[in-house]
């Protein structure tokens, strides 16, 4: 996964602005796609990552903030750069709290925008990679039986075999069998590794 895989999505209701942004991004070597409205983008976005969304704040029908909320609600992790014609600090703060990477005032210098795009795309790649690890962890954990999963959770918090046998009301011997199966299924060699996998799997967003 690298920057060549990234797609820059541009959503702006002003045709000229939209076309000029795409032209600039393409001139800087990015793959860019433009949409005339937030609704248009939401309808046609297929969940491709990595990439970044350049979103105009003030648009008729659906503003940029609204698009962000819908994306967040859908668990889409496409990082957003907001472009606003009217510098609005409270709106910027709110957008950043909701996960926006940048909030730029239009018109911004081309390098400012392109720097922001580069930064955001790298963030997106990292996010995508992290996301891949989470998915892998979940896949591995899904191979465990229910009892093995219970044993794994006890191991993750540092319980010894005896404590596990008492908690789960099973014999020490049975615990030893489950422990062995669990470690081998997860391809781990220590209880610490089990704990890391469990934590990854619990990361939201995937």
């Amino acid at each position: 996964m690298n920057e060549q895989d990234a797609i820059i999505y541009v959503v702006d209701d002003d045709d000229a602005m939209r076309r000029s942004l795409v032209y600039l991004l393409e001139s800087a070597g990015w793959r860019a796609t433009a949409f005339a409205s937030g609704r248009d983008f939401l309808d046609r976005y297929a969940g491709h990552v990595p990439g970044c969304l350049i979103l105009d704040v003030l648009m008729p029908l659906m503003g940029g903030m609204e698009v962000q909320q819908i994306l967040n609600a859908g668990g889409v992790c496409l990082p957003i750069i907001f472009l606003s014609a009217h510098g609005d600090l409270p709106m910027a703060v709110q957008a950043m709290k909701r996960g926006a990477i940048d909030f730029l005032e239009k018109p911004c210098k081309d390098h400012v925008l392109l720097d922001a795009v580069g930064r955001t795309v790298r963030h997106s790649i990292k996010q995508c990679l992290g996301q891949q690890q989470v998915v892998a962890a979940r896949v591995r954990l899904d191979t465990l039986t229910a009892r093995e999963r219970e044993v794994a959770q006890c191991l993750a918090v540092g319980d010894c075999n005896k404590e596990i046998a008492r908690k789960l009301s099973i014999s020490d011997k049975t615990v030893q069998v489950h422990r062995h199966n669990t470690m081998s299924k997860l391809h781990v060699h220590s209880t610490a590794e089990i704990a890391r996998l469990l934590l990854l799997a619990q990361t939201p967003g995937a």
């Binding site: 209701d13 002003d14 000229a16 602005m17 076309r19 000029s20 942004l21 032209y23 600039l24 991004l25 393409e26 001139s27 800087a28 070597g29 003030l58 648009m59 008729p60 029908l61 014609a85 009217h86 239009k106 018109p107 081309d110």
Partner: protein, 595 residues
């Protein structure tokens, strides 16, 4: 004088009587002056009363009784100044003097014609028997003759009866004519038809008939009173006869002597003599009724009494009058002042109207600038977009060239875009400039629909986020009005601006603003409906006032200017509440088709 005629006949007898007895001569006789009422002249009086004087002069030794013949006022004067000692006068005059000068009667004449000395004298009011006048009340408006206002028997007595019959002599008679003496001429004048009626003393008519001076039954005594035993017809009640009276200052002894002498005077052949003094009270009543003599000031007294008696009411009336007067003056003053104020106000209004007219175009201009000012950020946005786009294209091209990516298609695309966006910016600037330019009002026939649509488009340009629902579907054909297109667009722009601000304030700037054009009455109405928070009643009224605004950053000029513009076009601008929001409308009269 009523007895004048009788005395006349009595006189020779007295003279004879005097001659028989001879004069009683006093050594140095002291003069006793007797005032005698002599209406008919001194000679006549001397002739009439000579017998009485002779008698007195003979009976009372050492005195010389002198007759002083006087008319009414003279007699009054003489008594008042004590120039006489006794008075011989009629009942009326005596009664008057008795009251005013304190004279006292010592004897009353006793006439054979009288029922008694007390019931001796009366008035007969006579009219021609063929006149149809029978009652005193019929004398209203008639011509009446009398001897003199002072005459007792021949006016005053009769006057009382007239008053009691409802006729005020001075007021109700057609004519009241005083002929003077002798009274015989009154009877003759009435008989001759020279007057409707006349006042004479009682018994005169009978005596004249007897003497053949008038025809029997030619005259009628009006309203004759029943007086049993009285030989003559009378229109009045009867009064005491002449009185012989003494002044207060006259020595009582002399008065006593005279009284005795008079009472001792023998009855004459005609039957006259002196009797004990009669009661003259009835004369008093007469004077009271007529408000004569000492009652002459009755009228005045009564007025004073009234004033005293009704002083409270009069005070109230007077206060009311004074209040009314003050009120009237105040009202006059207020009216004058208000009139002046009104005139001033009108002048002021006139001045203001003229000033307004002068400043109208300036204000329109100022208003447009104010609107532009309010739109500054929107305008900036509108210009920033193409400029930003130009920047992006140029930088993009620069990056391609720098990176050695010189494919002509994308580079030319960039150039074309830059040209396009510069033209767009230029167009925007031109629109704003023409809007801000001070216009010359040019009224022309324009299609209102097109005008409003254009204004809405312009507004859309300035506010890209605004959506305007334009609906004139009901109109077929152009909505022609005579108007200044720029001014009407300004109004439309203004209303749209208000609608947009209202929706922004309500947090729904993107709700479409509905704009409609309808044919109403003989004109067209453009309505702008917003879905804002609406207006309070108070604000709706005040919104047309210059510098009144509900917006945080508004100037408060827009609606005032718009209203002025629409009204100068003969139209009307109105605001109405809707749920939710407000409907702002202006109506313009349709163009009257040119023949």
């Amino acid at each position: 004088m009523c007895l004048a005629s009788a005395m006349h006949r009595l006189l020779p007898l007295l003279v004879c009587w005097a001659l028989l007895h001879g004069p009683v001569v006093a050594a140095s006789p002291e003069t006793v002056r007797v005032a005698v009422l002599a209406d008919k002249g001194i000679e006549s009086a001397e002739e009439e009363w000579a017998g009485v004087f002779d008698w007195l002069n003979r009976r009372i030794v050492g005195r010389k009784f002198v007759l002083v013949g006087l008319d009414h006022p003279q007699l009054q004067q003489a008594v008042h100044e004590h120039r006489v000692d006794f008075v011989l006068t009629n009942g009326g005059n005596y009664s008057e003097l008795g009251y005013s000068e304190g004279v006292t009667r010592i004897a009353t004449l006793d006439s054979p014609f009288a029922l008694s000395p007390t019931l001796a004298v009366g008035s007969a009011i006579v009219a021609r028997a063929d006149s149809g006048i029978i009652e005193l009340s019929q004398l209203k408006g008639k011509h009446l003759l009398a001897a003199s206002p002072d005459a007792f028997c021949c006016y005053q007595i009769a006057a009382r009866e007239l008053v009691l019959a409802g006729i005020e002599p001075e007021r109700d008679l057609g004519r009241l004519e005083f002929t003077g003496f002798p009274i015989q001429k009154i009877a003759l004048a009435v008989q001759a038809g020279k007057a409707d009626a006349g006042i004479v003393r009682t018994c005169l008519v009978e005596q004249m008939i007897e003497r053949g001076e008038i025809k029997p039954a030619a005259l009628r005594v009006l309203s004759p009173l029943p007086t049993p035993g009285f030989p003559c017809q009378t229109s009045s009640r009867l009064y005491p006869d002449w009185a012989f009276a003494v002044l207060k200052e006259t020595p009582p002894e002399l008065a006593r002597q005279v009284a005795i002498a008079l009472l001792e005077m023998p009855r004459t052949a005609q039957g006259y003599r002196w009797s004990i003094p009669a009661q003259y009270g009835i004369v008093d009543e007469l004077f009271r009724d007529l408000k004569l003599g000492h009652y002459a000031n009755l009228q005045q007294k009564t007025l004073e009494d009234m004033l005293r008696r009704y002083r409270l009411e009069l005070a109230v009336v007077a206060s009311l009058f004074v209040f009314w007067l003050i009120h009237s003056i105040r009202v006059e003053y207020l009216v004058a002042r208000r009139t002046r104020e009104l005139q001033n106000m009108q002048a002021e209004k006139q001045r203001m109207t003229e000033a307004m007219r002068d400043r109208q175009s300036a204000l329109d201009h100022a208003g447009r600038l104010a609107i532009l000012g309010g739109m500054a950020s929107a305008i900036a946005h509108e210009l920033k977009q193409p400029l930003a786009a130009i920047g992006n294209f140029a930088r993009g091209m620069d990056r391609r060239i720098a990176a050695g990516r010189l494919e002509p298609v994308p580079l030319r695309e960039g150039c074309n875009e830059i040209v396009l966006q510069s033209e767009r910016a230029d167009a925007t600037i031109e629109k704003i400039r023409s809007f801000a330019r001070k216009p010359v009002s040019i009224v022309q026939s324009v299609n209102l629909a097109g005008l409003v649509k254009e204004a809405a488009d312009l507004f859309g340009v300035a506010h890209p986020e605004v959506r305007i629902d334009w609906n004139d579907a009901d109109n077929d054909g152009p909505a022609l009005v005579e108007a200044d297109p720029l001014q009407i667009q300004q109004v439309t722009f203004n209303l749209l601006n208000n609608a947009f601000d209202a929706q922004k304030a309500a947090g729904n700037p993107k709700t479409p603003i509905k704009v409609t054009l309808e044919r109403i009455d003989r004109g067209y109405e453009v309505s702008v409906h917003d879905k804002g928070n609406g207006l309070k009643d108070d604000d709706i009224v005040r919104l047309f006032e210059p510098f009144f605004t509900t917006k945080a950053d508004g100037l408060g000029l827009g609606l005032a200017l718009s209203k002025g513009i629409i009204e100068s076009h003969g139209g009307r601008l109105s605001l109405a509440r809707e749920v939710p929001g407000v409907c702002a409308s202006f109506w313009l009269p349709a163009e009257t088709p040119h023949e």
